[in-house]
Symmetry: C2
């Protein structure tokens, strides 16, 4: 049951004065439950609980943390239809997507559970003493990763499950041993509360300290600001807009003690279509990309918002084909009226720039909150000169840039902001002939795709979801895959520490049987 | 031969108007060579060269980078007496220290050479395709670490070799594949130019692209500011004061594209002396610590500036003993008159605070630029209330805090700023009885030492030199040991990329024979 209250650790609380409701974009009506925004006092309570919980939580074994994470997954599945219905009512997304995203969320939790139950991820490293070394003896030094402290997670509008309350950031932080305070996304606070209830149940069932998790409702920016500037908060995870992410990064940087902020922000995900591929396969590419651009109403951070190619007859044919294909796709619902409003205004802003031609524009009437897809075309020279054209239009929109030649194509890529992904559509051997273009692209992105689409982010160890700014605020980390746990930990050394007082991971006997590096040799 | 000029890549240049000289603190006189500060134009040239060099350097194999690093080490050794003499003339440090630090510098370069020649450090990870997977096939995804781009390194005043021109930051960045621009430290620009000449020789001998390394003279803060705010610079390494490091961090955070800054800054390195150890061994501890406090004229970032213990007769005896021991140590030279000036004024500031007792103060005359050691004592309550007492006094100085009980000791530790190290002096089983104190200490430091001294930083894989702010600006990385290379790299994914076009590290055949994780299994 959804109460509209905040979770301050295990306790429901609603002492604030500000309330709000979520919105059903399919029905174009407000949902019934009234959510109470967390008050300043409640925020401080959640932070104090997290800070206290950290002292215990950071010493809890990997096996027990795994139990906690697996139980969260179980409890989320136990929410069953109520979760799916709430999700759909707050997002306009179909049931299939809700179930798919739930599967991904549960899968992520179990991946992290496996990781920490096993323990080799801690990078345990031992350099044994050399008492006889000349001119100075060497101490015994042992290192492993330890958690940073309480982490604040800002949920994403477009992933109410997989990148929100119990999503990738939360799962990674809990796995690392960091208590988590979620600033609930105002567009899906009901989904958020349900998932929070699952986490709290799991925490109680598995004996985690009270305060290991809190969930705070918010309709504006104040709750987030207060959390990020609280001295007891040690790191921040965020998925959302460049404006929002940068504001948090700036707040964190101005603190007396600056803290790391990992924000996964916007991306236009450039797609380079090489000449031969365009000549040989433009019909097929147009069909594939019409689908990718409109997938999930274009509301993916990996949506292909920029298609780059060199002028040719094949390119003209591709422009026509893509325009036709995309017009045949049925419009679909956006997450929220505000998201549609922003989509329209961003699209309008691009269309109103000089020398931008609209080649596809769905103008027929659509249901309330449904997005009308569009494709525009611009010359390379214009694109280079006008950086407004480089900004993301979040929704089913893409821009084709017609380049004069390979040199202009390379220059355009080199001048792009950092991106999550770059895609190369190529025929056999074409990549080798375009090495400068590929090299420039690699320099601007976190993941490069060959003959595919950027949408669809596989959750696996080799996935990088992140990239040069502003794709993310710290390209040295990924937001997807088990390595995302590295955002929330720091290395720690013990020097000449007595064996029995060391954490098990570093004891001589290797009681956990994990992989470790001992005197330079990786061993179990 | 030292010219006083800047290295813009391979070329010596001195177009600026501002000149300065270094100072010999032992002789209390200026050295002869005139250094010309880099002009704005020269700074931009160095950055442009680095940015261009990056395109080639980032593709150079680990084996060739290893050759480059080893040749730098050889060329530094070939500088022989000229380097040692210049070092001593610019620092007031003895020849033995110069040679020891040279050995460490050369050793670090060779460590990184071994690391990159072998290649397993790249965390190559492969998840092979599953075309038959339901409901969606899985793409082939492969990940490895790639360099960030041109890096600026700010040398340290107190490590003219090991943490300056070819020191840990530079060696790590070059090993990663990042071109480096060093902002030379004005106190040892002659040492810096000699080492720079060795790097340039090595770059030429091993065929590295021009611009892979530049060395810019500077006497003020402008050269550094211009470098950090240049859009082509992608990361910053710094060793020095909190004020200096924080200023660079703030500059980098305000850029349109914020960049990572790893600054290793101040630390007072708390030492907790537990009751039984104090009772049983106070004489020995006093002797050891008198040595550690004055080692290198107290000019180490791991200098023990804070000694914490619970009130007892043994503590009173220890205070007396330490005071006597430290007064018997011969004063020694500081790095520069300005460093001595700052030492005196910081010491004076602490001494002038309420309720601070000076128990040792070397007041006899000393040579010019020699430091007069001192020890002060304060009650725990006073220390808790007055954060001025928490600030580092860089030099042969330490403060003893007399705590009422274990609770006050724990509270004091919990309220400390982040520290590089924490030390526990303990008798058998005493640590287990003081778990709260140890836990609080672990939470504030990057390295914890049992029954030793914090001075002396072993260069090995398990060493962490860094810690919660302000010990360093990003506790997720270490500044010492081969893992410090992680500061300058980011993960990068290839999706469905043709095998022959992948970097060798990720090709099916594993032609480099490195350790990789393939479908979750670590393998060669």
């Amino acid at each position: 049951m959804t109460t509209g209250k905040n979770y301050l650790g295990n306790k429901l609380s609603a002492k604030g004065n500000k309330t709000y409701k979520t919105f059903n974009p399919e029905l174009n009506t407000e949902n019934e439950i009234v959510f109470t925004e967390a008050s300043s006092e409640e925020i401080q309570q959640a932070v104090d609980l997290a800070s206290k919980a950290f002292l215990e939580f950071r010493t809890i074994s990997g096996k027990r943390k795994a139990e906690f994470l697996n139980t969260i997954a179980d409890e989320i599945l136990a929410l069953d239809d109520e979760l799916v219905k709430t999700y759909c009512s707050e997002t306009g997304l179909p049931e299939g997507r809700a179930k798919g995203e739930r599967g991904r969320t549960v899968g992520q939790l179990r991946n992290f559970a496996n990781l920490v139950a096993e323990g080799s991820w801690l990078e345990a490293t031992i350099d044994t003493a050399m008492p006889e070394r000349e001119p100075m003896p060497r101490s015994d030094i042992r290192k492993m990763l330890i958690p940073l402290g309480p982490v604040v997670v800002f949920g994403a509008s477009n992933f109410p499950l997989a990148y929100s309350t119990a999503g990738g950031d939360t799962a990674a932080a809990l796995a690392a041993g960091c208590p988590v305070i979620v600033k609930s996304h105002p567009m899906h606070s009901g989904t958020g509360e349900l998932v929070a209830s699952a986490i709290i149940k799991a925490a109680e069932k598995t004996g985690m300290p009270n305060g290991v998790f809190s969930n705070l409702n918010s309709s504006g920016i104040e709750v987030g600001q207060q959390l990020v500037t609280n001295p007891k908060i040690k790191a921040v995870g965020f998925t959302g807009s460049i404006k929002g992410g940068r504001a948090l990064l700036d707040l964190a940087a101005k603190r007396e003690e600056p803290i790391p902020v990992f924000a996964e922000m916007g991306s236009i995900n450039p797609v380079v279509i090489l000449p031969k591929a365009l000549e040989n396969r433009q019909t097929e590419i147009a069909k594939t990309y019409a689908g990718s651009i409109t997938l999930g109403t274009g509301q993916f951070c990996t949506n292909p918002g920029l298609l780059l190619a060199i002028k040719s007859d094949a390119l003209s044919a591709f422009v026509n084909n893509l325009s036709q294909e995309i017009m045949e796709i049925n419009p679909s619902c956006m997450l929220h009226p505000n998201i549609k409003k922003e989509y329209n205004s961003n699209k309008e802003k691009v269309v109103s720039q000089n020398n931008v031609s609209v080649v596809a524009n769905y103008v027929s009437d659509v249901e309330n909150n449904y997005a009308q897809q569009a494709v525009v075309v611009v010359e390379g020279k214009e694109f280079l000169e006008n950086t407004t054209l480089h900004q993301e239009v979040f929704g089913p929109f893409s821009m084709i840039v017609k380049c004069e030649d390979e040199a202009e194509l390379e220059q355009i890529i080199a001048n792009l902001e950092g991106q999550l992904t770059g895609t190369v559509i190529s025929d056999e051997n074409e990549v080798a002939d375009n090495s400068k273009v590929i090299s420039a692209l690699q320099n601007r992105v976190g993941r490069i795709i060959f003959n595919g689409v950027p949408t669809g982010v596989e959750v696996c160890e080799s996935m990088v979801h992140g990239g040069p700014y502003p794709a993310s605020t710290d390209s040295r980390f990924t937001a997807v895959g088990v390595n995302s746990i590295k955002r929330w930990v720091r290395p720690f050394s013990y020097q000449d520490w007595p064996n029995q007082l060391l954490p098990k991971e570093l004891q001589n006997e290797n009681p956990l049987g994990i992989f470790r590096t001992v005197d330079g040799i990786r061993t179990k």
